[in-house]
């Protein structure tokens, strides 16, 4: 009966509420969002008016939907540089199939979904099969789709845009679901904001409350360890790429419904903004850590900053500088909070 004292196990030590909050990945971005809101609200009264809020929630919402999907993928340890151009691919496919080839609208949507899901599958499959970094695989896909979007659009339309989408059958219903507005206190808000909230909740639930969510963290944290404990690494990764494509399909079709047209160059460069939003939201570039709510908050910060600069009346020539500085600050604050939280945990 040699009693070994187990009282000092640090894994069982009680952690205070404050510190437990601090280690949440989304906390840094929450603080950032509050700071940026207060900053611009104090500079412009239109920014904090109902119309102003409706305005900056709008770009945040479409970015946020993409950012949640991209965040899940990043937690799973991968990038998708083709996410931005897939938005265009989805919209252009729906537009061309209906307005040029007369396909039934709903079938065209299904075909465009199948197409981008196929792209997502291919991304994931190639990454898994070759073991090459997703950065390279999806960079190739990004360039290919960029060329394909332009080539096909030019070939079919002779111009660089697909237009007249408002004349297809079922446009009214599509518009109601994807691009209508709802009114709060006399101010119209884009319905995409509701979709954004829904996607954030769904993403968070998937990540934190399901077995698949555990797999995502496991795969992103340590791939070989995951394989050893029986996590289906390949299936999880491919599914994550396809989820990103699903989001791109949603946003691409939202865009063509809303603008009634779509440009061939749509989405180029946006893939980095999705990643930025996810990183502000606490995702690590190395995978295994991050949150869906954080990505949404990152999108919110981006939306508030891009519109806030206009509301504040700052010189437009400096726009990108302000934007970059804001984003850098948000990420640094995030990093600082997490470092502090992690050292104080011991």
């Amino acid at each position: 009966m040699s009693g070994i004292a187990v009282a000092g196990d640090e894994r069982l030590a009680r952690v205070g509420l404050f510190r437990r909050l601090l280690v949440k990945p989304e906390l840094g971005s929450l603080i950032g969002a509050v700071v940026i809101f207060v900053l611009f609200a104090s500079l412009s009264d239109v920014f904090r008016s109902k119309e102003g809020v409706a305005n900056w929630l709008d770009p945040a919402s479409t970015l946020g939907i993409m950012a949640v999907a991209v965040a899940l993928l990043m937690i799973g340890g991968h990038f998708d540089l083709s996410a931005g151009v897939q938005v265009a691919t989805a919209g252009i496919t729906s537009g061309i199939l209906t307005t040029y080839y007369g396909m039934n609208t709903w079938l065209a949507l299904a075909v465009s979904l199948a197409l981008v899901l196929g792209v997502g599958f291919l991304n994931g499959y190639l990454v898994m099969r070759t073991g090459l970094p997703s950065f390279i695989i999806t960079l190739g896909m990004f360039l290919m789709l960029q060329g394909l979007n332009l080539g096909v659009t030019k070939l079919v339309t002779n111009t660089v845009q697909v237009n007249n989408f408002d004349k297809v059958s079922g446009y009214g219903a599509l518009h109601a679901v994807l691009a209508s507005t709802f009114t709060i206190a006399g101010t119209p808000f884009q319905i995409a904001i509701l979709w954004w909230i829904l996607v954030t909740i769904a993403g968070s639930y998937l990540l934190l409350k399901t077995r698949f969510g555990n797999w995502i963290f496991a795969v992103g944290g340590d791939r070989s360890a995951s394989t050893n404990v029986g996590v289906p690494v390949r299936r999880t990764t491919i599914t994550l790429f396809m989820l990103t494509s699903l989001a791109a399909w949603f946003i691409g079709n939202t865009q063509i419904v809303r603008l009634t047209s779509i440009q061939a160059q749509t989405g180029i460069g946006q893939e980095l903004i999705y990643i930025v939003a996810a990183v502000i939201g606490g995702c690590l570039l190395t995978g295994g850590y991050g949150s869906a709510i954080g990505a949404s908050l990152g999108a919110l910060i981006f939306g508030m900053t891009s519109q806030g600069i206009v509301y504040a009346g700052w010189d437009a020539d400096w726009f990108k500088f302000f934007l970059g500085a804001m984003l850098l600050l948000a990420v640094l604050a995030n990093q600082f909070v997490r470092r502090y939280a992690e050292t104080s945990r011991r």
């Binding site: 479409t62 007369g102 979007n149 697909v162 047209s261 009346g313 437009a316």
Partner: protein
């Protein structure tokens, strides 16, 4: 594996399904007939067109359409290549010179970077016509002539028109940061208008967000009574932003597409100014052909201006059809 096979089957079935469903009235954009008239000369000259236009840019795709029509009308053998990077553009020119082309068409967004290559072409006996930008340096480098529009002239036209419509406070929407031509347009609008002009930067690759930014500006500054956009695709979202913001601002735009022509007809856009990019592609091919065959030079080598022309309510209906076909 069984599931995999099911997916493959579904993939194979989809196109078949799609064909079955292709008969509804959804094909609103289907073109009835695009057989354009035009001659087919048998000159057979080898002409290289090297521009700085980004692939996918609405403007340059119309220039390219003009080039191709010029080539088929003249019966020339014309290649079109472009690269936004001045050094790569210079390399494309060098490659054309090495192939001993009969004529060269170059847009000079950055003349100094192209100087060496263009002079190599000229000393190799290849006639050069510059297009679109670089008018100031065209003669100096030894080019035959320059075909283009003058941004300042176009901006002045827009400014004067807006002034006549009673507009005093304009927002000029720039969709490509650092593009000299766009800055020149805004500056010329400002000079001609005489009132207030402020520049606003938006992202060309995320048009819904660009719309939100324009709306934010209109909400923040109620004194704005005019919006000028510098590309057709931005004009469409600007029109929506003006409506959404409940702003009385009048909208004018540079450059054209079918949606802009439609919006001009409905009055959402006051007018559009077009520099006729088609001519910037078509004319140089014809001019080089005539120079090679007959030593013709137009106007003693003076710059040939392709614009500005105004698209207003009066002519927008006709132009809409041409814009949809990608030639205006």
């Amino acid at each position: 594996m069984a599931r995999m096979r099911a997916w493959t089957l579904a993939g194979a079935l989809l196109p078949a399904l799609a064909l079955v469903a292709c008969s509804s009235g959804n094909a609103v954009n289907k073109q009835t007939s695009t057989t354009a008239a035009g001659g087919s000369g048998k000159y057979g000259y080898k002409i290289a067109v090297v521009t700085h236009g980004a692939a996918g840019d609405a403007f340059w795709s119309i220039v390219k359409a003009g080039v191709q029509k010029g080539a088929s009308d003249m019966g020339d053998n014309v290649s079109y290549e472009s690269d936004g990077d001045p050094q790569k553009q210079a390399q494309l020119i060098d490659a054309a010179v090495n192939q001993k082309v009969d004529g060269l068409v170059v847009s000079m967004a950055n003349p100094d970077a192209l100087k060496g290559s263009i002079q190599r072409a000229i000393s190799a006996g290849i006639p050069v016509i510059t297009i679109n930008s670089g008018q100031d340096k065209s003669k100096e480098f030894g080019a035959l002539t320059h075909v283009g529009s003058n941004e300042t002239l176009a901006g002045t036209a827009v400014g004067n028109q807006l002034k006549a419509a009673g507009v005093k406070n304009v927002v000029c929407v720039i969709h490509e940061a650092g593009n000299v031509a766009l800055e020149q347009r805004c500056a010329a609008v400002k000079a001609a208008l005489g009132g207030t002009t402020t520049n606003l930067q938006v992202d060309n690759n995320n048009l819904p967000a660009a719309g939100s930014t324009i709306k934010a500006k209109l909400q923040a500054d109620k004194a704005v009574d005019g919006v000028v956009t510098l590309g057709g695709q931005v004009a469409t979202v600007a029109a929506q932003a003006i409506t959404d913001a409940g702003s009385p601002a009048k909208l004018a735009t540079f450059d054209l597409n079918a949606d802009v022509a439609k919006a001009v007809q409905s009055g959402k856009i006051l007018f559009a100014v077009d520099q006729q990019p088609y001519l910037q592609g078509y004319l140089p091919v014809v001019m080089l052909t005539l120079y090679k065959a007959n030593l013709n030079v137009l106007g003693g080598g003076q710059p040939v201006l392709t614009g500005p022309t105004l698209v207003t309510k009066d002519n927008a209906a006709q132009i809409e059809k041409l814009a949809a076909a990608g030639t205006r």
